[in-house]
Amino acid sequence: MNMEKGIVELHEMLQKKEVTPNELIAESKKRSKEIQEECNAFVTILDDVTYDGPIDTLLAGIPYGIKDNYSTKGVLSTGSSNTLKNYVPFFDATAVENLKKAHAVFVNKTVLDEFGMGGTGTTGHTGIVKNPWDNERMCAGSSAGSAAAVASGVYPYALGSDTGDSIRKPAAYCGIVGYKPTYGMISRYGLFPFASSLDTCGVLTRSVEDAAIVVDAMKGIDPKDMTSWDSSKIHLYENLKNTSPRKVCTIPEICDLKNYPNASTELKLHLENYQKTLNLLKEMGYQVEEVSIDKTLLNALASCYVILSCAEATSNMSNLTGIIFGPRSEKENVMEMIKDHRTKGFSPLIKRRFVIGSYVLQKENKDRYFHNAQRVRRLIVDRMKEILKDYDAVILPVGTGPAKKLKGQKDILDKESTVLEEHLQIANFGGFPSITIPNGFVHDLPVGINITGNCYEDEKVLQIAYDLERKMNYKGQIRKKVSHE
């Protein structure tokens, strides 16, 4: 199975003509259809893709997938929402355009939680996405389809977007790598916005190396995105192997089992496994220390994220009226048309978030909620920056264990472990580069570890991830289905 291989190996095969791009595309399409059947990972599988161009870059001629909240010229782009169920853009997102220039070949569009607002992969307009390791479990979200596809060997990589943890959590739940670069390194032009100050383009892969290669091609300052910056001096792939033992830290208020007196077995195993990885780092010569963050601040994290992201979302999605694009409603006057389109088009979850977003921005609530959330965001980011002055990266476990069950599992977030589920949002608050890599199993299901560094230090973050990855056994892993007998 060629599509289970990494980018460099595929590239060499293509160069040596051991395989042609069209053979890879055909294999990818076949796998897409199988995984669609099994996991419901795609909104669109392209039928007529071929590539006969040169093999002139590492990505040339190799298939990949795109999350359906990226604008793709001439190809349906729904954001997994009924409000855009018939929307075919006439322009490419800059990141997609950059990959096109590198002659990468996109073969399908993947399902997400509607407009990226959700962490389960169950709210897309085409139905729930199942975890390829265990179809009774979720992938997490919102880049659910991308994670499922990469984990099951549809192609070596797929694009994701990350507003809270939307790349990094599904990556962990699917046993793969999820990389969210520094805010603004990849242009957001053409990415359907959820919360503009947090939204980041990124990638899901099966190795740190592949993540570096893909983001090298996606990134770059873009005159169409004022928040993008010049990263031409950053060469992720070229510098990936310049590793050296680093000084890293953990945050006991988040990762110490003592914080969770009612911990489930899964959580206990997950945190034990995390400790094992820390020990491995120490063996590798890394300095691993504990640094505290005020618990009050950490406890405010999740609600601040809800306030800020919902506020921006309610405004960002006000353009979805069905007047210019999307299915237009047949009502008498324009305001009724807009109301009807939005009432029918959005899922209840999103509407709830819009209500929250509007509420916290209302004059009488704005200072208490929105402005306070902004203040907390600033405090958390300041504290992180302070820590990252002394340490090369912060290393933390992802979530409270492996993927959650779609049914049967009480989905009410356990209050005491909220911070463990939500701490990845810190990287979005500060725009920090952050990568999740698989670090083992709990009950035969993959779990992940996260490495977050300072803004613009993506090279360093990837070097640490690469260094750790090669001392573990999970690089390039393809899902192994658990049995339910």
Partner: protein, 484 residues
């Protein structure tokens, strides 16, 4: 009115028409009848599009802020104003609020109203994007996105005007400022200027500096012509006085009304309790940026001399009448033309007469700008110099002027040859002598007292010279010859 005093404030919206592109997109910033031809994806809010700020629009808005004597911010921010309306494709307008401060706050403007100088305080001026325009038909409406995203300046004054005339004089002053500084054509016919007006009345006897004495503010939306502003204010003052007189004024709520041009009345829209909450927050797609003091200094230096300043100079230094000075400064191009004439050494009063008379007459007749007028100030000098030296008559000067602009030839080429006035005494004397020889009987009659025959002789000389004889010299010589 004598018992009451009106307090009037304005929100003046003026499109910046002098940038090449829109405020946040690369679409052309122009006025055209062809709907939806100046549009980029971001102007229609296609998913994933992002605003990119136009630096020239920022420069022009900062220049306006300086002209108004406002304080400029250290950092530039933009905010989102969230509301649904079919002319607003994003569902929010990118604008500026007063905190963090916009392109300008707390300035003042001195303007002329019916010959007196007045001052109005400016609360703030901010830069924002215009909305699309809507055309309503019997049972459909069309949306034209050409206007969506055009840079718009909103100037908010304090309620310092006391009459409709003052408010309109201010608007006219600002229109001239926008035109002089090359910020906008400020053309109401193209909808480039739109106003909201707020009006309240208070007892004349009370101190207006104490806000407690102020009446209830009524805001009138969407007044799109200066005449409309005048009528709306006058109507609203009258309406409020009537409420006072009938004792109902105190029951009136703070409210927003709409100016209905057809009926010439204001109509109730909503009271303050129903005011829309726009849920402002800082626009995350435009990072705040620091304004370079050097750039601000450059902008300041590039502000041209404005109409009022020039007018005062024309009156005080050149001794022009209020009327003439007003005509000359009405358009910056005309004032520039006039000043060029003076720089070339043409006497101000003569230049003024020519510019406001013949030249503007022709320019208006041709419907062109004075900049495109064939006869430059230097060519005008070619006419005025020989005229003043007596080389040509004023009649000839006018003929040369006409001929020059019709044939597109420099006046000097016409003066040196055929058209030159005959001032040479010897030449004139020869002509006069030959005419007198042919008219001995008329000389007889003249000498016998028919002195009005003098004009006959002058006429004969003119006929002979085809009007080129210097009339003054001709009369001198004739008098001399006839008295022999």
């Amino acid at each position: 009115m004598s018992k009451y005093k009106a307090k009037i404030g304005l929100e003046m919206h003026c499109e910046i028409s002098k940038t090449n592109t829109k405020l946040f997109s690369g679409a052309q910033n122009t006025y055209t009848e062809h709907a939806n031809t100046c549009v980029r994806p971001v102007d229609m809010a296609f998913p994933g599009t992002l605003p990119v700020l136009n630096k020239e629009a920022v420069r022009l808005s900062l220049m306006t802020s300086m002209i108004l004597g406002c304080k400029q911010p250290e950092y530039m921010y933009f905010e989102r104003k969230n509301y649904y309306y079919p002319d607003l494709p994003k569902g929010y307008q990118i604008t500026q609020e007063t905190k963090p401060i916009p392109v300008g706050i707390y300035g003042s403007v001195t303007f002329e109203c019916e010959g007196t100088l007045k001052t109005v305080r400016v609360n703030n001026i901010h830069l924002e994007e215009d909305a699309a325009s809507l055309d309503h038909y019997y049972n459909t409406s069309n949306i034209d996105y050409n206007r969506a995203g055009v840079p718009l300046l909103e100037l908010v004054t304090e309620p310092d005007f006391h009459s409709a005339e003052e408010a309109v004089a201010f608007l006219e002053h600002m229109r001239s400022v926008y035109q002089y500084a090359n910020i906008s054509d400020a053309d109401t016919k193209k909808g480039q200027i739109r106003c909201d007006v707020n009006v309240s009345i208070m007892d004349e006897s009370l101190d207006e500096n104490n806000p407690e004495n102020w009446g209830t503010k009524v805001e009138i939306k969407n007044v799109n012509s200066f005449g409309g502003v005048k009528d709306a204010i006058n109507y609203e003052i009258k309406r409020q006085i009537e409420l006072k007189e009938t004792g109902e004024y105190d029951k009136m709520e703070q409210q927003t009304r709409r100016w209905d041009e057809e009926s010439g009345t204001t109509k109730f829209m909503r009271s303050k309790v129903d005011a829309i909450d726009y849920k402002y927050f800082v626009e995350p797609n435009i990072p705040k940026f620091k304004l370079d003091p050097k750039w601000l200094e450059e902008i300041k230096k590039s502000i041209p001399r404005l109409a009022l300043e020039r007018k005062q100079e024309y009156q005080n230094t050149y001794g022009l009448s209020n009327y003439d000075a007003t005509v000359l400064v009405k358009e910056r191009e005309v004032a520039d033309y006039f000043e060029n004439c003076i720089q070339l050494g043409i006497e101000p009063k003569i230049a003024s007469n020519w510019v406001s008379g013949n030249i503007l007459g022709e320019v208006n007749k041709e419907g062109i700008s004075i900049q495109d007028f064939y006869l430059t100030p230097a060519m005008l000098k070619q006419i005025i110099d020989p005229l003043q030296k007596g080389i040509i008559s004023s009649k000839q000067a006018k003929e040369i002027f006409q001929k020059s602009i019709t044939e597109k030839k420099e006046p000097k080429t016409m003066i040196s040859t055929e058209n030159a006035q005959i001032s040479d005494e010897k030449e004139l004397l020869e002509i006069i002598t030959s005419i007198l020889e042919k008219n001995s009987s008329q000389i007889e009659e003249y000498k016998n007292g028919r002195t009005n025959l003098f004009d006959y002789f002058v006429g004969q000389v003119m006929k002979e010279t085809r009007g080129k004889a210097n009339p003054v010299k001709t009369k001198e010589l004739l008098t001399k010859e006839l008295s022999k």
